[in-house]
């Protein structure tokens, strides 16, 4: 009797498991497309290599499920990329579908790699929602595509993107944990601000730096959304798109109270030196040099030493939650002075990330 029970239980389990397994997954992605895949994806294409960091929030060995990717993480990831390589030597063997720009992406290569899912950004350096030809060809070849977004409208799309990834990768539990963690922190800021309805909104000037080029600033989108959310007044909202270049004269005449710059330089390179395996003094040196330019000397933010730096890639990553806390802390120190953005990263390291972030990711200019 007992054996029979056991057997039937086993059969039931198998039926149930296979039944579950065969259950197709239907999701709606961030651009509103309904996508069905037969089972959780085991071989994915990353339209932007840097989203490996995103996968590593959900999957212990993200490299094992990447069937192909663009080369941008190798080139822009700095020493973080090296740490990923050390942890996952197989990284070097992931086939490239293109280098950095979307025009370098080979659709044929994607099809040849036989992925069971392509993950693209809604707006990205790789193929995105505007790449009609790539989408058409991949769909014709039976390769499903889902669009995620941490870049155009991260405030709205980060949570849906993570939930989406949890479903299509069969990692819903991890995704839900991350989303809960994310929402808890967002809600803390939202709740605090709601209690102070008559709050002054400090003007925030943010620039996103790449090398020595004229910097871009977030407009109506991107990290600018987090400035507005955190009770700041993003002076870049006059820009027509998500990111654009502000006239320095406008910046001076606006007299921003807070000046935040992003950076991605490795030690020895031009720009703000910040990120994995970077030392505090290196960030401080580059930030001090940047803040001492004549053109920013009249800014209140510079005179009152409210000059800050953060890692550039927060602009296109669910790790933006740490950036939100930093922005809140810098914009409203009287309310959020106790927030610890590096502490957020520490918790993310411990609870989620396959390769921990170690180095300087946020900095406040010291006098």
């Amino acid at each position: 009797m007992r054996t029979k029970l056991k057997i039937s239980f086993l059969l039931l389990t198998i039926c149930f498991a296979t039944g579950l397994h065969a259950q197709p997954i239907t999701v709606t992605d961030v651009v509103g497309r309904e996508v069905t895949i037969p089972q959780p994806a085991k071989r994915v294409i990353l339209g932007e290599g840097r989203q490996l960091i995103t996968l590593s929030l959900l999957v212990p060995d993200p490299v094992a499920i990447v069937a192909g990717w663009t080369g941008d993480f190798a080139k822009s990831g700095g020493l973080l990329y090296e740490d990923y390589r050390k942890r996952f030597p197989a990284l070097d063997d992931i086939p490239l579908i293109g280098t950095s720009g979307k025009e370098t992406v080979s659709t044929e290569q994607i099809i040849a790699l036989k992925p069971d899912l392509a993950i693209f950004g809604a707006g990205s350096h790789g193929p995105d929602a505007k790449s009609a030809d790539v989408i058409r060809t991949l769909e014709a070849a039976g390769i499903p595509i889902v669009f995620i977004d941490f870049r155009l409208h991260p405030f709205k799309n980060t949570v849906p993107s993570m939930e989406l990834l949890g479903k299509v990768l069969g990692r819903e539990q991890q995704a839900n944990e991350f989303v809960a963690f994310y929402n808890r922190r967002i809600n803390h800021i939202r709740g605090t601000l709601a209690k102070h309805t008559d709050l002054q909104k400090p003007k925030v000037y943010m620039e996103m730096i790449r090398g020595a080029a004229p910097p871009g600033s977030p407009g109506n989108g991107n990290l600018g959304e987090f400035i507005e959310f955190a009770g700041g007044n993003n002076i870049g909202t006059i820009l027509p798109g998500e990111v654009g270049t502000l006239n320095m004269e406008y910046v001076i005449s606006e007299q921003p109270d807070v000046y935040i710059t992003t950076g991605i330089a490795k030690p020895g390179e031009e720009g703000i030196v910040i990120g994995q395996q970077v030392y505090t003094y290196q960030t401080q040196e580059s930030l001090a040099k940047h803040a001492s330019r004549a053109v920013v000397s009249p800014l209140n933010a510079v005179k009152e030493n409210r000059v800050y730096a953060m890692w550039h890639l927060f602009y296109d990553s669910p790790l933006n939650i740490a950036a939100v806390e930093a922005i809140a802390k810098w914009t409203h120190p009287e309310l959020f002075g106790k927030l610890q953005p590096h502490g957020v990263l520490k918790e993310i390291n411990e609870r989620f990330l396959a390769v921990p972030l170690k180095g300087v990711y946020f900095a406040e200019l010291k006098k």
Binding site: D72, K75, S76, T99, S100, G101, T104, H125, R210, G211, A212, A213, P214, G216, I238, L239, P240, G244, T245, L246, N247, M248, E249, Y250, I252, S253, E254, Q255, I264, E270, A294, V295, S297, P298, H312
Partner: protein, 347 residues
Amino acid sequence: MTPETITIDKGYRQQFTRRVAMLCALGVAALVSFFVDMAVGPSMLRFNEVIQAVWSPDTVGLAQRVIVWEVRMPYALMALLVGACLSLAGCEMQTVMNNAMASPFTLGVSAAASFGAALAIVLGLSLPGIAGEWMVVVNAFLFAFGATLLLQLLSSMRGSGPEGLVLFGIALVFMFNAFTGIMQYVATVEALQQFVFWTLGSLSKANWDNIPLLTALFVVITPFSFASAWQLTALRLGEESARSFGVNARRLRLLSLLRISLLTAGAVAFAGIIGFIGLVGPHIAKLLIGEDHRFSLPASILSGALIMSLASILSKVVVAGAIVPVGIVTSLIGVPVFVILILRKRS
């Protein structure tokens, strides 16, 4: 004097006066445009405040001083300089190539400069001892100049006709574009964006380090250009007639190309690719003032400076507070002027 020569003499004097007046008008227009450029900006400084900041910078606040001295003035001056350099280069180029479609960018000079800039931005390669943003400048300059020398070498192997030069020039354009394409292919996303911004052309790199350099370049080269004015006019009549005036066409072409490459390289190095001025500046000048190079050379300088200065104003006001790369709006300003002039000439 016979009555005929008196009539000719009178006609010449009238024409001369008219052309001088036209030059003065262009000069005044450029100057006015420069002042407007200085007066326009998102910060709503009044014009007398701008003047006060210019004449006695110590009496005004830091913000006002920085806006006028570090933002508005460098941009406005750079606009004049870049427009003048490219348009002068274009005027000479159209004559020595005997081709109305020629511009400083026809013969691969800008393609070479782009490749040099890409090398600096993407790979960080430049001469030893050159660092930071100067790498882009030095590379753009070296490659533009190198391309001209290569062009000279190639065409001297074949004879000095303008057709050969154009063909080799086009070959250089494609070669350097391919090299630049390779650079873009291996570039990081950030470097790629930086490079794209550079190629769009922008006055935002103007500062008190590079304006004196470009000014010096322009001031040194222009007299040589003016000194060749009559020879260029003779060449415009055809190579045979030029030879009959005793002009060594080959030598003239060589020296002219040298000036063109220096002017173009200088402008491109500091402002990126601004393609339209070098083609249309000289045409506007010639439509207004004729083919006599004693007038068309200075007129080209002034019309180029004027268009560029107007474009600089427009690039600031399209989206108040934002900057639209000036290379984009140059055509928006220049094309209507150009079309109107052509239509008026026809009727």
